[in-house]
């Protein structure tokens, strides 16, 4: 039994210590916004915030997150920066299939909290770990700039 703090609430989960947080969230806590994409921290679809840091939940065992704040895409609408990022995503029609976008938004939000006005290079470097097979990268970049309060570049 492990106790996790997810989006501000405590959850008692009957799972082995080595279960990756991803599967504890999805199959046990019933939070399905965090996606499985690769299982080896190569694609970023499973990105959550751990004490505010973007973290790959697919390779993070639940034992490593006890006593820490886990935040998922489901809580981003209640976060001022997260909300701005989500709105920018909608304004620019970023998503195609949408499967990776929760992870993209989690990573982008963490970036903007750390670096409120990132330049293009900083955005590209920060987002390089998040794959999108539909190829929405330029809209993601533009949406992050928009959420950061910059003009959409042309």
């Amino acid at each position: 039994m492990v106790t996790l703090t997810i989006n501000g609430s405590e959850h008692e989960l009957d799972v082995p210590d080595n279960m990756p947080l991803l599967w504890a969230l999805r199959d046990v806590a019933g939070l399905k916004g965090t996606k499985f994409g690769c299982g080896i921290a190569e694609c970023g679809a499973c990105t959550v915030h751990l004490d505010g840091e973007a973290t790959r939940s697919c390779v993070t065992p639940v034992s490593a997150v006890q006593g820490r704040q886990v935040t998922t895409i489901e809580a981003m609408a209640d976060d001022a920066v997260g909300q701005r990022v989500q709105q920018a995503w909608l304004d620019l029609g970023v998503a195609q299939c949408g499967y990776c976008q929760g992870g993209q938004i989690m990573n982008a939000t963490a970036l903007l909290k750390r670096t409120p006005r990132p330049d293009t290079r900083e955005i590209v470097d920060a987002m390089a770990g998040n794959l999108c097979r539909c190829g929405t990268y330029n809209r993601i970049l533009a949406a992050i700039e928009r959420a950061a309060g910059k003009e959409v570049s042309s």
Partner: protein
């Protein structure tokens, strides 16, 4: 899909001439009316010729609540192309619905009710645009009739506005919601009574909105699934949440066709949470959409199932795989390259290409290779199936719900009526999810657990190692030039296993639907042409990958045309415009293509003028001919596929160390009338990125029948740094031709355009994909 030339010619009433003879502005309307004369069962082309045909009954697709909420049913798979927004928007626009009061409902698999649902071949909009407009126009007329009845006035005195019907003479109006109940009671008007809205009355169809080439021009009408996606609420295949679900993964044979010899599951059953280990029968070859076989592990959560699978000890019978167990892709490439040196089955010829080659002042020759690739949608295959009381219910991200339903019914020996398939969102498809093998696996496992839902999840390793692989290809081309550098002859030999090997004994030659993807439809005007298809046996499970055989054909032909231009000492654009010859319509049958993506060649010939127009537009926008400086260059490629036209120009730079920077892409695209330009742009942008991966990174190799890549650390796909920072999409305003495809035609010219740009920058010719480290000095 194959049709004889005779049947095809019988249908050659000149519909296109009829269309062209009328004012351009009314072409859409007329095109929308064309299907009226054709009952589904008589149609030979287009939507009507698809299994299940089209349906335009408003009662099937449109429902209005008394509070005014409009529900529009989307019968196509949403996999990122935006069809749930675009098709619903088409109906909402024609109906006059307030977009804020519209919701989409996803159709279950029910071809008899909803018409064809196979989301494949870039067909959704071109086949459903007209039926959905008619359905909405009929619903609008029913609302107007209901209002006229209520007010006791003739129907021609009332008119539907936005979400209401108005009687101007008396100033009365009633909302759609207030009229819904009585409108539902009315008979559906005949198609002859329908008048579709004129362009000036439309709010969404054909209108530019959203982000256009980096600038936010106007608000994009909200995407149907937009908010659900950004808040994590959108339901993809794995997000279906049913009580008492058990989770399954499958250990599949490492080689296509191998079988389980023995399995020791004692350790697997000791893993906490593992409930059961079940052998899955394979169906041998050809596999079609059936399970590959292997061993399933069922557990209380996905992780336990994966841990259980890791603990299995399986001995495989590789001999059962026959030749496949020796399949090594490097050796196979060499064998195809050798076979390409000898003549093959003649597919098309005009003039005497051999004699013209002999007589040529100068000969150009090259061989191109494209490797196996996996579609690798971000959502790996996954399905939920529950069997209860002799009925099966599935929830799955599938492109082909009908095949899924039939497959489950066949596997479980049930009547089709006892199988329900709920369509979830697809986290990407790209052809992978046209094949519902993963749903069949879930159904097979669910058979062991009466009443309990089974969620069967593929890992990324499963997805890449057991894809329906894009087949390798070798294309060998030879051309003759005269003293002025003009092409006199063209010989192209194409070699790839056929996707038909997935369903039937390996034909070893490409089928009509494969050759018709840019090989025999090559539009160049050259005096002597000879196209051949030598045999190529299949060894792995191959299948459609977005744009399919257009990929190798465009890659080879567009690279080679550039090589010819270089040999002739001419500008690439000038050279290919000359190769295309005068503006004309090439009837598909005259080049041996009886397929034409299932469309009427009268309505959809190969139109050289349209090809020329996209080339001119892309090159003009890119500043073709400008001085680029050392190590930098522009590259062009173009292609006709899925009855649309694409040209792309890349501006690239390669450093001394061989590091590639893609500065910009200019894409010109002509798909005829545009339903939702905003989503057309996003498809072109996405195709550009995926194509860059095909050019630079993506390859699956095989050793002894086993895929050597298994996840995104070895099977590489583009990341944000790989995308050009500037991508410009130039849509050709062309309302007068018939509507073309959008999801796939952006992809084929990307890799050759990029490689042509690399040549312009460096003088290095790429003939083998992916580029990988070939630029390293």
């Amino acid at each position: 899909m194959s049709r004889s030339a005779d049947t095809l010619l019988l249908a050659n009433v000149s519909r296109r001439g009829l269309l062209k003879g009328l004012a351009g502005g009314s072409a859409l309307l007329l095109a929308a009316r064309w299907d009226l004369g054709l009952a589904n069962e008589q149609a030979q082309f287009g939507a009507g010729a698809m299994p299940g045909g089209w349906v335009d009954n408003p009662n099937v697709f449109i429902h209005i609540d008394s509070d005014g909420l409009v529900t529009i049913v989307n019968n196509r798979a949403e996999m990122g192309q935006g069809i749930r927004t675009s098709l619903v928007m088409v109906a909402a626009d024609e109906l006059g619905a307030d977009w804020d009061q519209v919701r989409a409902e996803q159709a279950n698999a029910d071809q008899d009710r909803y018409g064809n649902q196979n989301t494949d071949g870039s067909r959704s909009m071109r086949h459903w645009y007209q039926p959905m407009r008619r359905a909405a126009a009929a619903a609008r007329l029913m609302l107007e009739q209901a209002a006229a009845n209520r007010w006791d006035v003739p129907v021609h005195e009332v008119r539907a506005g936005i979400h209401k019907v108005v009687h101007s003479a008396s100033g009365r109006e009633l909302g759609f919601g207030e009229l819904a109940e009585s409108a539902r009671e009315l008979d559906v008007p005949g198609r002859d009574a329908l008048v579709l809205k004129s362009d000036s009355e439309l709010r969404f169809i054909g209108k530019e909105s959203g982000l256009i080439n980096g600038e936010l021009k106007s608000a994009y009408p909200k995407a149907i699934d937009g908010e659900d996606i950004v808040t994590g609420r959108a339901v993809f295949g794995a997000d279906v949440d049913l009580e008492d679900t058990l989770y399954a993964v499958v250990a599949r044979p490492p080689v296509y066709g191998a079988k389980v010899k023995s399995v020791d599951d004692s350790e697997a059953l000791n893993v906490t949470g593992v409930r059961k280990v079940i052998p899955i029968e394979g169906t041998g070859q050809p596999a079609a959409f059936n399970p590959l076989g292997g061993v399933a592990v069922v557990a209380s959560n996905t992780w336990a199932a994966m841990e259980g699978r890791r603990a299995l000890k399986i001995e495989w019978d590789r001999a059962a795989a026959g030749d496949n167990a020796d399949y090594t892709s490097d050796a196979y490439r060499e064998s195809l390259e050798k076979a390409a040196q000898s003549p093959g089955k003649v597919i098309r010829q005009s003039g005497d290409a051999e004699a013209a080659l002999e007589a040529a002042d100068r000969r150009v020759s090259a061989t191109y290779y494209m490797p196996h690739m996996a579609q690798a949608p971000m959502e790996p295959p996954v399905a939920v199936v529950r069997i209860r009381d002799g009925k099966a219910e599935a929830w799955a991200p599938v492109q082909n719900p009908r095949a899924t339903r039939e497959g489950i019914a066949g596997l479980l020996e049930m009547d089709l009526e006892d199988v329900t398939v709920h369509q979830t969102l697809l986290g990407g498809g790209f052809g992978r999810k046209s094949k519902p093998d993963f749903v069949m696996e879930a159904a097979r496992v669910a058979r062991e657990f009466e009443g309990q839902p089974i969620k069967l999840q593929w890992s990324r390793e499963d997805d890449i190692q057991h894809a329906y692989f894009h087949a390798v290809s070798v294309d060998h081309l030879e051309a003759g030039l005269d003293a002025d550098g003009k092409a006199t002859s063209w010989r192209h030999r194409t070699l790839s296993p056929s996707i038909a090997s997935l369903f039937a004994p390996d034909p070893r030659h490409k089928g009509e639907f494969e050759l018709g993807m840019g090989f025999n439809t090559m539009p160049f005007s050259i005096p002597a042409i000879r196209l051949e298809n030598p045999p190529a046996p299949a060894h792995v499970r191959i299948g459609w990958f977005r744009s399919v055989y257009n990929l190798p054909h465009a890659w080879a032909i567009q690279s080679f045309a550039h090589e010819m231009a270089v040999a002739a000492g001419k500008d690439h654009r000038d050279f290919v415009l000359d190769l295309l010859g005068p503006d004309r319509e090439v009837h598909n049958l005259t080049v041996g293509d009886g397929w034409n993506y299932g469309e009427d060649p009268e309505l959809y010939p190969i139109d050289v003028a349209r090809m020329r127009r996209v080339i001119e537009r892309a090159t003009e926008e890119a500043g073709w001919g400008r001085e680029t400086g050392k190590g930098r260059g522009l590259g062009l490629a173009f292609h006709h596929s899925f009855v649309s036209y694409t040209a792309i120009v890349f501006d690239v730079e390669v450093s001394e160390a061989g590091e590639l920077t893609i500065h910009r892409a200019d894409i010109a695209f002509d798909c005829g009338p545009q339903a939702n330009p905003e989503r057309i742009r996003s498809q072109m942008e996405g195709s550009c990125v995926m194509g860059i991966g095909i050019a630079l990174q993506s390859e699956v190799t095989f050793e002894d029948g086993v895929a050597q890549q298994d996840n995104f650390d070895s099977y590489l796909i583009p990341r944000m740094p790989n995308a050009p920072r500037v991508v410009r999409v130039h849509l050709i305003d062309n309302p007068n031709d018939a509507m073309g495809g959008v999801g796939e035609p952006g992809l084929p010219p990307v890799a050759p355009a990029l490689c042509n740009a690399i040549f312009a920058a460096t003088g290095k010719r790429i003939r083998r994909l992916p580029v990988g480290d070939q630029l390293a000095s």
